[in-house]
Amino acid sequence: MSDKPSETGKLNSAPRGLRRKVFVSLLLLLCALALAACRDGGYNRPAEPAQNQTRDLADDLGRKIKIPERVERVVSLAPSLTENIFAVGAGDRLVGVTEFCNYPEEAARIQKVGDTLNPNIETIIALKPQIVFVSTASQLEAFMKTLEAQGITVFVTNPKDLNGVLANLQQLGEIFGTRERTGVLLNELMGRILAVDEQTRDRAKAKTFVQISKEPLFTIGKESFLTEIIDRAGGVSVTKDVPTAYPKISKETALAFDPDVIILSESPDNLEPNDVFKKSPAVKNKRVFKINADLLSRPSPRVVDGLEQIAEALKQ
């Protein structure tokens, strides 16, 4: 009942015609909640207690989100979220994804709802999803409000580091009731992360520059989760103190960093280091490495692939 004030607040702000709809769905939700509570009291199901309940789960904006009893139809508005939903074994419940969702292969067969920045609201509503998953990186605040006004639950994620990725996967496992499979996945990922930690523990940290785009020169900053990845992989990002996640960096400063290693986020406009690095130890000693941009830009299980590849590169 503690949620009622906030629900009423939403009611007042909604257009008049919508209020009844929202009210009805609220009633239904309360019924479902009561039913779930009864059931929970009735049975003792320690194996998968989450599956048959309606729960409140906090998303990464700190909002309490009511998750339906069974989640069968969802839309993902970020490639990383699509990967994560497949990874926790719920890929078959995705009814809509973005144009950029290219992994795993099965994602290609799912209905496209636009790109991450311009999703098509009509397509999404027509798909009747129970939950739409959104990443804060897509900046879709206004869009979220429209969806919520349609009675579609929006779940926002914002993983900032490796732990955030793991926590996000765990959350998804809970939402979809695939805890077991998620547990296996998390164990595997944590094992691989620890193996990299082990491997890099006593190594000298290589000064690493991550080049996101050659011209203009973009790199990673303080708020990028790659800063942590580089650190774990046995390097130190030379731009780790620069504000924001993906800053355009001054060429003068980039040259002065004099990096030992350059990591290129592989894309058509970023296949070689910027000219300012031509005298750097990285270029002289041929320590320039291309890593698939998707592994570096998506907070998904594949980020651990990226971590392993960077650790391998830094070892050379």
Binding site: E215, G221, P247, S250, A256, P268
Partner: protein, 324 residues
């Protein structure tokens, strides 16, 4: 009112000298300031690389871009007898931007393709505007400005369409460039824009007397023996080349062509023999200083210089409009 006792020629000569000294000071300041501190008397290898390969080409390119845009603006305004005539308003900049963009998409591997396509784009846009505005009754200024607006918005929509169709990686570098960005300065780019701006300013200055007469009216100019259509073509062609070379080097740096000639006319009057060369100097000062702010304000990150020129230019222009 001190200047009243001086002859006007002496006064404007002094003003020109003052601008030249200011430009030198601005260049010195811009060379001194940057995201890295340099010890100018004992440069290490990497500091020398920063100074000669990165900072100086950029500062000097900024000066050339500023001069090009201001001269193009000044001569177009005289020709069209409209102080609002600007490379942007006439579609010249957007033509150059679209040309550069096409070179960027289809001929990314050829660096020389960018300025060539920019000239072509600027020239085609100018030609289109010119033909739309030309009528049997001669060139009508209102018609010309209106055609410019139409061509500008049409080209903008093509640019928006293209950026929507381009893939995300290319889009990122391009959107930054569209705002005006000097960070991609190279020595080659500087030499090209320098040659263009020196030649362009010299030729346009040589047409200053004809432009002065055309400001009174094209018919009057014709009666005074000015080959009106030839002057028109020279101005349009050179403005296209000037704008094209600066857009290819640095994207669209706004407000320079509008605000700089305006300030110069307020100070020395509307004699194009003074307005054109002085605009070149003042435009160079404006962009060099604006880019210094862009480079240092949030160092080691950078701002697009076009945002700075617009931030200064727009309020300044409104102030000047209200004052008159």
């Amino acid at each position: 009112m001190k200047g009243r006792s001086l002859k006007p020629e002496v006064k404007s000569l002094a003003f020109g000298g003052g601008l030249l000294i200011l430009l030198l000071l601005a260049l010195l300041l811009a060379t001194y300031l940057g995201s890295e501190r340099l010890s100018f008397f004992a440069l290490t290898d990497s500091q020398a690389a920063i100074l000669y390969d990165i900072r100086l080409p950029r500062v000097l390119l900024g000066a050339c871009v500023g001069a090009s845009l201001a001269v193009a603006g000044a001569s177009l305004q005289s020709l069209l007898r409209n102080p609002l005539a600007e490379p942007y308003l006439l579609g010249v900049s957007n033509g150059a931007a679209l040309g550069t963009m096409l070179a960027f998409v289809f001929f990314a591997q050829f660096e020389f393709a960018r300025p060539l396509f920019a000239f072509a784009g600027a020239g085609l846009a100018t030609f289109a505007v010119y033909r739309m505005a030309d009528s049997r009754a001669g060139m009508n200024v209102e018609r010309l400005v209106l055609s410019g607006v139409i061509v500008t918005t049409f080209l903008s929509s093509i640019i928006v369409l293209l950026t929507s169709l381009l893939d995300a990686a290319k889009l990122r570098s391009f959107t930054f460039w569209l705002l005006g960005d000097l960070s991609q300065a190279t020595r080659g780019g500087f030499y090209l824009t320098f040659a263009v701006v020196v030649a362009g300013t010299a030729i346009l200055s040589s047409q200053a007397r004809a432009l002065n007469l055309m400001m009174i009216g094209e018919r009057d100019a014709f009666d005074f023996g000015v080959e009106v259509s030839r002057v028109r073509w020279i101005v349009f062609a050179l403005a296209s080349v000037l704008v094209g070379s600066s857009v290819a080097a640095s994207g669209s740096v706004g407000y320079v062509g509008l605000i700089v000639p305006h300030l110069i006319r307020l100070t020395v009057g509307s004699d194009n023999r003074l307005v054109i060369p002085f605009s070149a100097l003042a435009g160079a000062i404006f962009v060099v200083l604006a880019d210094t702010v862009a480079r240092t304000a949030i160092a080691p990150r950078e701002l697009p210089v076009g945002a700075i020129t617009a931030l200064i230019g727009a309020p300044l222009f409104i102030y000047l409009l209200r004052r008159n």
